[in-house]
Amino acid sequence: MIVSVASGKGGTGKTTVAASLATVWERPVWGVDLDVEEPNLHLFLRPAIAGSETAWMTVPAVEEAKCTYCGACSELCQFKAISVFNQVILTFPEMCHSCGGCLAVCPEKAISPGRRELGEITWGVAGRVEFLAGRLRIGEAMSPPLMRQVKARLEQMLAKGGDAVIDAPPGVSCPAVNAVLDSDVILLVTEPTPFGVYDFKLAWEAFAPLGKPMGAVINRAGLGNDAIYRFCQEKGLPILAEIPYDRSVAEAYARGRIIADLSPGFKETFVALRDKIRALAQPSPSREAAHA
């Protein structure tokens, strides 16, 4: 089973919840950081890194001797990543989405696969949690291609059994949707403030069409107002856990502590959350069918 921890608004406690959840989950479990722009899960799980590799994506490499400047490539490219004018062909690798169109369309076979660095994929072990993360190269604009590569690696791992808890990026646009797209359950973490509620509604609108079981975790409960509770009730969205607003929790987080480790009470909160997620995921016939 894959659980994605997402949020809409940033800073509501995704990483806190993901780290705590991974810590109390039955083994084998992978803690996966798909917030590749600002990965933070390692700061809380503190894994011993076992390996890493550079992630690349394919971009066009033009062999000018073969090019007849027919312009078929630039005509097809939707991303302004390859341009032909008169007797000049230019590529803009940073714009490329790696669709492979120019390679396929070139009648002279003058374009071959080159590469652009996306970032790094690392893995390791944090106590009883297996760790996997992507880290976007500074200056790289596109996070979904790197996220797809991290997810492909996760899929290989999970083929041997086990579950995964994914720490997703904030927001509700393409990176966030990419992160939750292949999960079995989506957990939305929010705080009961006007910003939290507004972005939570956006997240619900973005993710509800995926048709996956969803549940809410309310962090900093007691802060703000009760609009979030009304919204969840209206949409039939179960509230699976509440973490109270407490300065000591914020201070523990600021010291890099995992909330589930703070007290037996908090541990119980996350064990109960885990069990509710498991219940929410049952039955999931589509995934069983995919494995059959």
Binding site: E37, N40, L76, Q78, L181, D199, A254, G256
Partner: protein, 292 residues
């Protein structure tokens, strides 16, 4: 004209709350919310919309089931796994489609259409602090970077027409596509961070991004009293890299109190928080070369 962008790397550090207060403190300006994915500034500024425009960007593939002969070439060409078998033919998953046109160009039955993608809306509004240019990307949509460029262009033109010497922008979290777009042409980036492991880690990455694009950066440490050791580490990082630290702001529920009332924190009775924020704004004006 000067352009100031408030960013953070990590979400939830207080970008929008502080941008709202700066909008209150600044003289003649145009305000611009560049977090088009999960925008929240309007919740503080209560804008009256005066202009609404639809945002179209890119295209998406759509297979005509009547014309599709089920050959499957499209599915084998698609690099995004966006084309799946559907009945006797194939269908495109719009959430995975990147709009690259490769399937459209190669379909032997010419069965794939390529309509424009309606990605969101943008607005010009009036607020109690001056005009606001803002947007809402539809949940799950892409091309946030292009929408950011549209908003910036509108804000600049509006500022020019009104003789305002400042465009004040609220940015998105992360270091990817929308943040990169929002840095282009900015005179000063103000990073709001917090003294937590995630806050510092993400500040370092967003600072590296600013260096990469040669944008000047200044730093505000919000909730500085949550972890004095981490605050000291952030200050030492800023000293080493020559980033001015504009303010240390206390962890104060006042910010949420203002938010719940639809106000910015400087509209509440004077406090340590608002005084420190006022001084920070003075320093920002000096750094950005704004006449007082």
């Amino acid at each position: 004209m000067r352009e100031i962008i408030v960013i953070s790397g990590k979400g939830g550090t207080g970008k929008t709350s502080l941008t709202g207060a700066f909008a209150h403190l600044a003289g003649d300006k145009v305000i611009c919310d560049l977090d088009v994915d999960a925008p929240d500034l309007h919740l503080l500024l209560q804008p009256a919309n005066e202009r609404l425009e639809e945002f179209f960007s890119g295209h998406e593939a759509r297979i005509d089931g009547e014309k599709c002969d089920g050959c499957g070439l499209c599915a084998s060409l698609c690099q995004y796994g966006a084309i799946r078998e559907h009945g006797a033919g194939f269908a495109v998953d719009p959430l995975r489609c990147e709009g690259c046109k490769v399937c459209v160009a190669f379909c032997p039955a010419a069965a794939i259409g390529f309509p424009e993608r309606h990605c969101g809306q943008w607005y010009v509004s009036s607020t109690r602090f001056g005009p606001l240019v803002h947007a809402q990307l539809f949940p799950g949509a892409e091309n946030s970077g292009r929408l950011v460029m549209v908003l910036k262009q509108q804000a600049r033109e509006l500022a020019k027409a009104r003789g305002a010497d400042l465009v004040l922008c609220d940015g998105a979290p992360g270091i990817g596509c929308p943040v990169i777009s929002s840095l282009s042409g900015a005179h000063l980036a103000v990073a709001v961070t917090e003294p937590t492991p995630s806050g510092r880690h993400d500040l370092e990455r967003v600072a590296a991004l600013c260096r990469h694009f040669q944008t000047s950066l200044a730093v505000i440490i919000n909730k500085f009293d949550l972890n004095p050791d981490e605050t000291a580490r952030i200050e030492s990082f800023c000293r080493d890299e020559s980033y001015p630290v504009l303010a240390r702001l206390p962890h104060d529920p006042l910010v949420t109190k203002a938010m719940v009332q639809g106000l910015v924190v400087t509209e509440l009775p004077e406090s340590d928080f608002s005084r420190a924020l006022g001084q920070a704004w003075g320093r920002i004006e000096a750094l950005a070369g704004l006449a007082r």
